[in-house]
């Protein structure tokens, strides 16, 4: 179980957004960090991509396939399945629940934000998403994060503990120093 020093495959982010403009934007932002990006336009396509069979609307017991997705970033407001519903299905899935999920929204609604964080989202970004937001994804995308369905590793990084040095400009309370837009809280020190 040794740590692999050389990263061979780029980290893989699945982006979900029904807006073609926002898909293009998030893809470009993510690629500045050399992530491999797959962008889909709906929650159902996301679940298909992640290998969940559409057994009674994605309530499958387990996925045979191991997905190589390291992080999922999804819009909240989408027709059909919302980002919240997608988050919930991911967290309910044995095979997918450990993949960090980030929600994006153009609406700054505190109740919505807390709901998502309580449901297990790692971060909540207000749109338009910027490079400084994507920068916050780095601890969730360190190479030690990759988990498989059989991985019993109790390395508990997915609540975003700061064990990666110097990656963030945020102070202890998780506030970002950037913000004249009233950017939402990112609670990467969830309790």
């Amino acid at each position: 179980m040794g740590v692999i020093a050389i990263q061979e495959t780029p980290l893989h982010v699945l982006a979900v957004d029904d807006s073609n403009i926002d898909r293009k934007l998030i893809e470009r932002l993510l690629k500045t960090y050399s992530y491999h990006v797959t962008a889909v336009d709906s929650g159902s396509k996301a679940l298909e991509f992640l290998g969940l069979q559409d057994v009674e609307n994605f309530q499958s017991f387990s996925s045979n396939q191991e997905t190589d997705v390291n992080l999922i970033i999804t819009d909240y407001c989408m027709p059909g399945m919302t980002g919240f519903e997608l988050l919930r299905k991911i967290k309910e899935s044995k095979s997918l629940k450990d993949i960090p999920v980030v929600i994006m929204s153009s609406d700054n609604i505190p109740a919505r934000i807390s709901r998502c964080l309580e449901e297990g989202a790692q971060e909540f970004f207000l749109k338009p998403v910027r490079l400084s937001d994507v920068d916050k994804l780095r601890p969730y995308l360190s190479k030690n994060e990759r988990k498989t369905t059989n991985d019993d590793d109790d390395d508990d990084n997915d609540d975003g503990d700061d064990d990666v040095e110097g990656w963030s400009d945020e102070d202890e309370q998780g506030r970002s120093d950037e913000d004249e837009r009233g950017q939402a809280v990112s609670m990467d020190q969830s309790s």
């Binding site: 807006s19 073609n20 403009i21 926002d22 934007l25 470009r28 153009s106 749109k127 338009p128 490079l131």
Partner: protein, 152 residues
């Protein structure tokens, strides 16, 4: 024939005025920062998507508001989309009208909605014209052998 430095100065002045007059906000600058040698047309590509989307949305809005019985949820959904896309490219004035538009949708205020439709169309056309002028200026600079000044 304008020299490169004259064109560049025009570019800087024009861009500055667009920010000062609120047509564009910082998000547009963010887009420009994402443009580089491996993504040389990024801004034009994103803005073109915005133009295409906007034309469709404006048509959809007009149709939706012409119905005998207006489905305000549907109208709001279109406006929400418009608000999102305009905000993603930094077209601030369009976004601002969309905010008011959504309020009228919530109130099911037909007159308010119709007025906002006119307003948002107007603001969209303005920003479209200005962005097209900006892109033309960029092309002129590049064709004259110059480089596009970085705005801060």
């Amino acid at each position: 024939m304008a020299s490169v430095s004259q064109l560049q100065r025009q570019f800087v002045e024009y861009t500055t005025s667009l920010y000062n007059e609120g047509y564009l906000d910082d998000q547009f600058t963010q887009l420009q920062k994402l443009q580089d040698e491996s993504n040389p047309d990024f801004v034009v590509e994103v803005v073109s998507l915005f133009f295409e989307d906007s034309e469709k949305l404006l048509n959809n809005l007009a149709t939706a508001l012409q119905q005998k019985i207006v489905d305000y949820k549907q109208v709001d959904s279109h406006v929400h989309q418009f608000k999102g896309s305009s905000s993603s490219i930094g077209a601030q004035r369009v976004t601002n009208v969309c905010v008011h538009f959504r309020n009228y949708c919530e109130e099911k205020n037909l007159d308010g909605c119709l007025r906002c439709l006119q307003q948002v169309k107007h603001e969209y056309i303005l920003v479209r014209n200005k962005l097209e002028a900006l892109f033309r200026l960029e092309q002129q600079i590049l064709q004259a052998g110059g480089s596009i000044p970085m705005m801060e």
